[in-house]
Subunit: 251 residues, 2 copies
DNA sequence: AGTTTGTATATTATGCACAATGCATAGATT
DNA sequence: AATCTATGCATTGTGCATAATATACAAACT
């Protein structure tokens, strides 16, 4: 049935709404602000301790202050800023103690998430994870590797589709710690290879449907990562740390 | 410059959010809305699945819509509502699976929190916790007991003064599960006595500064509580369960 | 005829400009 | 010098305009 299409050929099939759902939803101003500020903070573009003034942010991103205020609430929930009544938003830095706390939580929570989602993991999801794994083995740039890494774990645990508290918390924690992970990988590229080997083992355990094995491997993987980061931070002077955090990426 | 004020002086004017304690520092409208809605939801006054319309809430609490929207963001972070762009807020119910998830997280996180805060616990804090413990032993009303219980644990772990991610998450989880805890205590009052004995043991361990013991006891205490809740829910007929979180989906 | 597809309307969330409150700091008074 | 007061400034709150979604209803196709 060849029906005349009034609206642009974005989607095949019926109507623009079905197609809209596949593409990205029209983002609200708030989502735009949250995304931008989160990226900026995680990339270290805002000095920890510096204030974020809503008017300034609103002017810079060309929106009004209302969506900025709501964005601040979201960033507060993610732990990226602190927010006191009438006193405004302050960028929270990540101390080593923070990173340790985050990883100690992940070590305990991610095996639990893996166990709880284990039965819902399909062969197709494993296949997608394996595809991501191959791309991660081929790509050695820390940033893109980290990005793929997040997608990898999200694929195996149901990702954002899961609406429970656990998956949301795990997702947020993984995000929050990412700058340090990237940092340690910059310092010692062999860490990436170690992670890739861990992922290969993990995929193998998923393939043979070894629930217990997946849980244990997940725990071990994170504990080792924390250990690596701790050693790396100890090795570095805090000066160098600050330098790396301050520098921004080349366009 | 004394231009006439459209808004009356603090405290009286925009109504009854002065109806709370007059002596308390003027809270912001947002804090008032968050507190009110949280209490209402946790008390089960809103059917799970029902919508919260910002205009309605704003009119009822005699506030404008902006603080209501920001309050929605806070409640979203606490997991009490879900929130989709342009589609509004929906009250989330607590399924047994949710409660299990929450307790499985608490079993893993609270020992960690106890360990991390252990060295900062002062004798004075222990004394305050003991005072609360005595009041809890004397009081057998489930609601007040639960309220004191939260204060008890907050006292021993630094409470809200702590600004790390861990303490905030633990605090939120404890809050979220409270309706079920109260429920199980209503059903079987001896649970309160069991908890009181656990607390006495815990305090003794704090007194002798046994870090490992505190951690283990905390874990055991929560695991037992989850077990009790599960058995209690199982014991009840699915009839009564259905009463608690009524399914709003029409066939 | 029954179902689906398209359009108009109504409802609700989102965004904006402005008014007002509270915090912080600098200046004046005792 | 210390305390109190006044002023600047950023956050908070309000009312309204706009954009998006859901609902109702008419038209078209199988």
């Amino acid at each position: 049935m060849t029906r005349f299409m009034i609206l642009p050929p974005i989607g095949i099939g019926r109507g623009q709404w079905g197609a809209m759902k596949v593409r990205e939803r029209p983002r609200t101003a708030r989502q735009y602000v949250v995304g931008t500020l989160r990226r900026e903070i995680l990339q270290g573009r805002h000095q920890p301790g510096s204030r974020l003034r809503q008017e300034e942010v609103a002017a810079r991103l060309d929106v009004s202050t209302t969506p900025v205020r709501e964005a601040f609430r979201d960033l507060l929930a993610e732990g990226l800023i602190s927010l006191d009544a009438h006193r405004g938003a302050v960028v929270r830095g990540l101390t080593l103690s923070d990173v340790q706390e985050i990883y100690q939580m992940r070590v305990r929570l991610e095996p639990l998430l893996a166990e709880r989602t284990f039965d819902n993991v399909t062969d197709e999801q494993i296949a997608r994870a394996e595809a991501l794994h191959r791309r991660m083995c081929a790509n050695t740039s820390p940033e893109t590797w980290a990005s793929l890494n997040e997608e990898f774990h999200a694929t195996l645990t149901g990702g954002e589709t899961q609406d429970g508290r656990l998956s949301g918390i795990v997702y947020t924690l993984a995000h929050a710690a990412s700058p340090y992970v990237v940092l340690s990988m910059f310092a010692r590229p062999e860490i990436i290879e170690m992670n890739n080997r861990d992922h290969a083992e993990l995929l193998a355990l998923y393939r043979v449907r070894d629930r217990e094995g997946v849980s244990l491997k997940t725990e071990l993987h994170l504990a080792q990562t924390l250990d690596t980061i701790e050693r790396e931070v100890e090795r570095k002077s805090s000066q160098q740390l600050a330098d790396l955090n301050r520098d921004t990426e080349p366009g």
